[in-house]
Subunit: 147 residues, 2 copies
């Protein structure tokens, strides 16, 4: 299971500490560069307002199964957090697509540091996962996140 | 960028053709097995109704930048589809958590074949990406998916 880098994410965040905890809090415009050999896969992307972006959090080292997050003083199970320190440091952002210029996507809503390797882009189609949306429970995040 | 398998997904789908095109159409109860060494990371997971599951679609071979999907007769850019044939064959499902028994999660809504390697579990917290939800445009999927 070897990943290929298909592009790079360019953001104003140079260090981990500058990255917003919650990608929806990020108002910065960032650029996603898709390497030329994959550019053909962007056909029709202008029709989508939002995209799912997967990236490799390469600055992350090791992991703990119990983690303390910025949201809470308690330790929580790693699988219930978005901590970058995971067995596989894959990050996901749902970004708003502002503009495409060739192999560059200008987006809003990325929470990755500058130069982060891009590994996948998928269409954001909310209907796919939202059948039972009204019944969503968010565990220990309840009352702690910015809606 | 080397991935570690952290578990396995057990589903009734033995072959690619049996997997539903849209995970929200999957009514089957499936089991996600987390290997014992990572079980501690599941603490507090019972509080979440939905999880984001990332897996490696190991039966996928190669990729095309333009693909024909079951939804349409036209070719679309790979980045606007959920085709498993991608440079990095990572699949995402938003699953409903029904029950946890030790290192086994019983869930609904997986669209992976039996034995698929698990690579990550993240909490599903809709507020993270939905600030501008009302303005979502879904490109060529419009009018084609089951809402």
């Amino acid at each position: 299971m070897q990943l290929k880098q298909i592009g790079a994410i360019h953001t104003p965040y140079k260090r981990t500490k500058e990255v917003p905890y919650q990608s929806s809090l990020s108002e910065e415009v960032c650029e996603i560069e898709i390497f030329r050999e994959y550019e053909g896969g962007l056909k029709d992307i202008e029709g989508f307002s939002h995209l799912i972006v997967l990236y490799w959090m390469r600055k992350s080292e090791g992991y703990s199964l119990l983690v303390r997050t910025p949201w809470d003083t308690e330790l929580h199970g790693l699988s219930t957090t978005r901590s970058p320190r995971r067995p596989n440091p894959i990050g996901i952002s749902i970004v708003r697509l502002l503009e495409r210029k060739g192999n560059i996507l200008r987006v809003r809503g990325v929470d990755a540091i500058d130069g982060t390797p891009l590994i996948d882009i998928k269409p954001y189609v909310p209907e796919f996962g939202e059948k039972e949306k009204r019944e969503v429970r968010i565990g220990w995040f309840e009352g702690r996140i910015n809606r």
